[in-house]
């Protein structure tokens, strides 16, 4: 294990270089796999019968995206233990009697003695998919040697193979997407990602998974470095059903759905809000957007006014609508015109996530819309703010959230930020903290008037239309999706690139797959500038 840890340390050093360089960094990245990506790769390489359980260290969000934060995280000692435990369990399953004939391409000469040829064949084939590139000769030799040594000790070929495999599964080459740069022959003096890094970038962007065999073959042949070859692969990935996983991953990241795992409501006040509601709420939003953006090839902006959604009986009980679904499963549901439930930000996944356990928060909801949908930064409140008035929902003087916020916002230090957030969030006040519709709070009729950048509206549907019509809405998606694809925050002079994407997006009637194609086939996605500090790093990392 000493070898893995030392190599991992080097990878972490590379990641720290990127982090230290700050938002101006545009060199090759070292991105830690998310838990979903880890499991997806294991499933892709070994098949669905191999279970990859366990919990890994939490991701961090940076500039609005976990995918960007993935370049700024390391692995702690306990994190290594978790990866190691998972690796051993996976390896044990792969070499088990039930799976070995399917997953290992050869049989050893003897079951209790090393067979380097067979081990080499296995590690070469498996390693190519795990490392997302062919293994170098010394890497392959090392795995074969580990397997042989273990086989001799344990007197079992398959145990030896499992030992070698488990060391691969904790290697930084697997756990981190390590990008490499090379001179760009089309632009002398500039750099681009090497072809395997390019393949990985493409695959993780569109499928949230490692490159498949065809994509690696396109990389190996150099086809991926030609505009035509790249376009062919992008079209293939976009036409695949696996695109759904990629789109789900992006929007889960954009809407902060990782936080839903920790979401709870006061059961005494909101007994209908259960763990199942949380799980269904996330799935509802993802099904809604997949249907609109992929199945219907609809306009991205319609995500904020869409009436067609999918519900379970449990969600129906929260929304107060009848839902007949087979075996408690999912069924399509279309709300009437101008129904307040229209639009994904009027769904439980958004409303409940950006509220407190026992009360709503127009401020949190408005802040989330600004940051997630419009890509506008809302400053954090100062540390010495008195929230007493806002938190006291039993105060007879301020029965509604609007009244409480008006009282709170009389403090000068609060007024500025609340002007940015509250006029949007107050339009969502017809939904309680659990996402259920209401017309009154403490017996007082709710005033859901609001405003977005000068556009006034009288209720939630009005807010939805304003979001739909705001030029910031598609612009934000372009910026954030580009950063997601790149795996890092954009730097100011890249706005010329995103402006071009925006024009193309509008020309394509705001269809998401067209935008993804544009980003995926652009040189900008693969252009890199090696960090100046690279020469100071060990050769292994700089390479």
């Amino acid at each position: 294990m000493r070898i893995s840890v030392s190599v991992l340390s080097a990878a972490l050093l590379a990641a720290s270089v990127a982090a230290a360089a700050g938002d101006a960094y545009r060199g090759p990245l070292t991105l830690r796999l998310s838990t979903a990506q880890y499991r997806q790769i294991i499933g892709d390489v070994f098949g669905p019968t191999i279970k990859a359980g366990g919990r890994f260290e939490p991701d961090i969000r940076y500039k609005g995206l976990l995918q960007v934060g993935a370049g700024r995280v390391s692995v702690t000692a306990s994190g290594i233990e978790q990866y190691d435990a998972s690796a051993r369990k996976i390896a044990e399953q792969v070499v088990s009697k039930e799976n070995r004939d399917t997953l290992i391409p050869c049989k050893p000469q003897s079951a209790d003695a090393p067979d380097d040829a067979c081990a080499r064949a296995f590690f070469a084939a498996t390693g190519r998919l795990l490392y997302r590139r062919p293994l170098q000769a010394d890497e392959l030799d090392r795995r074969v040697a580990i397997a042989a040594a273990s086989t001799k000790t344990m007197k079992d070929f398959y145990t030896g193979l499992a030992t070698g495999l488990s060391t691969m599964l904790v290697a930084p080459n697997f756990l981190f997407r390590q990008e490499n740069a090379e001179p760009d022959p089309a632009h002398p003096g500039q750099y681009r990602l090497d072809v395997y890094s390019k393949a990985a970038k493409l695959s993780f962007f569109l499928w949230n998974a490692g490159p498949d065999a065809k994509l690696l073959a396109a990389a190996e042949s150099g086809e991926l470095n030609t505009p035509k070859g790249l376009a062919k692969q992008v079209d293939r990935l976009l036409a695949s059903p696996r695109l759904e996983a990629g789109v789900r991953a992006y929007f889960s990241d954009m809407f902060g759905f990782n936080e839903l795992a920790y979401l709870g409501k006061d059961a005494a006040l909101y007994p209908n809000f259960t763990v199942q509601v949380t799980a269904d709420a996330q799935e509802q939003t993802l099904r809604t957007l997949i249907d609109l953006l992929l199945n219907q090839k609809g306009d991205y902006r319609d995500l904020f006014t869409v009436r067609k959604t999918f519900l379970t009986p449990i969600l129906g009980s929260v929304y107060g609508v009848p839902v007949v679904a087979p075996d408690g499963g999912w069924t399509p549901y279309t709300y009437p015109e101008n129904d307040p439930h229209s639009g994904v930000t009027m769904q439980v996944s958004f409303l409940a996530l950006h509220s407190h356990p026992g009360r709503t928060s127009p401020t949190l909801r408005g802040k989330a819309l600004r940051e997630m949908v419009l890509c506008q930064r809302v400053p954090d409140p100062p540390g010495n703010v008195n929230f007493t008035v806002v938190q006291d929902t039993a105060n007879p003087l301020y029965k509604t959230a609007r009244e409480r916020l008006n009282a709170h916002a009389t403090e000068a230090m609060c007024t500025g930020c609340h002007k940015i957030t509250d006029p949007m969030g107050l339009a969502m006040e017809n939904f309680d903290t659990a996402g259920s519709f209401r017309q009154h709070e403490n017996g007082v009729a709710i005033d859901a008037r609001g405003e977005l950048d000068g556009v006034k509206f009288s209720d939630g549907p009005g807010l939805n239309r304003a979001l739909h019509d705001s030029p910031r809405t598609p612009a934000c998606l372009v910026e954030r999706l580009t950063a997601y694809a790149k795996g890092r925050a954009l730097v100011p002079d890249e706005s010329t690139v995103t402006k071009g994407f925006e024009l193309d997006f509008a020309a394509a009637k705001y269809r998401l797959p067209d935008l993804m194609r544009k980003i995926a086939t652009s040189d900008a996605l693969y252009a890199v500038t090696p960090p100046q500090v690279a020469n100071a790093l060990p050769t292994e990392i700089a390479k």
Partner: protein
């Protein structure tokens, strides 16, 4: 702004039956039964001036004395009572055959003599004047909420001094045993549904429909109550379908006498719960829930088997002396005399109903959602 309401949707979704006589502007509101339990009034010590009936260890000891066991042996048999409750305690075999020493006493209660049962002697009980005799009814109670005289509720009189059937005040209103039985039962059997069709609960005619669902209830985060606004498909089995007419006056809906049948589960309740001359009184609470009382006659034999079917487990856990209850049921039954023997076969009773807003749809709609084909078109 949302202008539709749940009831209107239910009417459309369920194709709810609007009965002639109901107001023209009728709308239906559906509910799922959250709690259903014997509505046993609690009036303190005055209810049971002779005291409460003994706990199981005490009436088992009494029976062993009757059977001639020496005190020392009884002490030994009941040492560590009730034990693991797995049927291996030395007392189990004795109490099961405490009649004639060979037959199961729960199946043959007359093999044992009547040990007697202390019964309620108070003034109040929930329920209805089922026999129509009003204040002239010799055994009539007075309803503590409506003030109605001549309330017939002999089942409450019978069980009201048994500890596990003893209600309480306020939040403890549900007696321990009925509470336990329903809490277990509602997760095992299809839900019971109530639909009220009225002119938005204004004074006037109303129709109450009781149905059974195709699936069980779903609980909320509290674990104690049923989820609000769940959707239930109605079981088309006519045995669980009841339509009764009623009138709303001063916000309280009271139905006319009718037979009402519920399909339950053979756990603490009889599989089918038949009420004759039954009446229902319901009120809509401020939070949109429904609460009320169902009173009617039911076959006492069915009630007996609902309890005695659990044999010694029901006895020892809930201190219900099956033999004593059997003789008391026979003795206190107050309706439906057998034409041959003249013995009454039914006993008056009252149950509390607490229901939560729900959506109901027809089995056809449920089938269509599942298969794309309506049930009525399946050969």
């Amino acid at each position: 702004m949302r202008v539709f309401r749940q009831g209107l949707r239910v009417l459309v979704a369920a194709g709810a039956l609007l009965v002639a006589g109901a107001a023209a502007a009728a709308e239906s509101k559906s509910f799922v039964v959250n709690w259903f339990y014997m509505n046993n009034y609690y009036g303190g010590d005055v209810d049971c001036p002779e005291g409460l009936n003994p706990s199981s260890i005490d009436f088992y000891r009494r029976e062993m004395v009757r059977l001639g066991y020496p005190k020392a042996e009884i002490d030994k048999i009941l040492d560590g009572y009730p034990g693991a409750g797995d049927g291996r305690g030395p007392w189990v075999a004795i109490v099961v055959k405490r009649g004639n020493g060979k037959d199961d006493v729960y199946e043959n209660p007359t093999t044992a003599p009547d040990p007697g049962l202390k019964v309620v002697q108070g003034r109040y009980a929930y329920g209805f004047n089922l026999d129509g005799r009003g204040a002239a009814s010799p055994k009539g109670f007075e309803d503590p909420e409506t003030g109605e005289k001549g309330v017939n509720n002999e089942l409450y009189r019978l069980v009201g001094c048994i500890k596990s059937y003893r209600g309480g005040e306020g939040a403890a209103k549900r007696a321990a045993y009925p509470d336990y039985i329903w809490d277990v039962l509602r997760d095992r059997m299809p839900a019971w549904l109530v639909t009220v069709t009225s002119d938005n609960w204004k004074d006037g005619p109303a129709t109450v429909t009781f149905d059974r669902a195709l699936k069980t209830v779903v609980r909320d985060a509290s674990g104690a109550n049923v989820r609000l606004n769940m959707t239930y498909a109605i079981d088309p089995d006519p045995r669980g379908h009841n339509v009764v007419q009623g009138t709303i006056k001063n916000g309280v809906l009271t139905t006319d006498p009718a037979n009402i049948n519920f399909i339950a589960d053979a756990f603490g309740l009889t599989p089918d719960l038949h009420f004759t001359k039954a009446r229902v009184r319901l009120k809509m609470n401020a939070d949109g829930t429904l609460s009320g009382v169902l009173g009617g006659y039911q076959a006492w034999a069915a009630f007996y088997w609902g309890n005695a079917g659990r044999a010694w487990t029901g006895e020892y856990l809930h201190s219900q002396d099956a033999v004593a209850i059997y003789y008391a049921l026979k003795r206190m039954a107050d309706a439906n005399p057998d034409p041959k023997t003249g013995e009454n076969r039914d006993i008056s009773s009252a149950y509390a109903i607490e229901a939560i807003p729900a959506f109901t749809v027809s089995a056809d709609d449920a089938m269509k959602a599942r298969t794309g084909v309506r049930a009525s078109r399946v050969p």
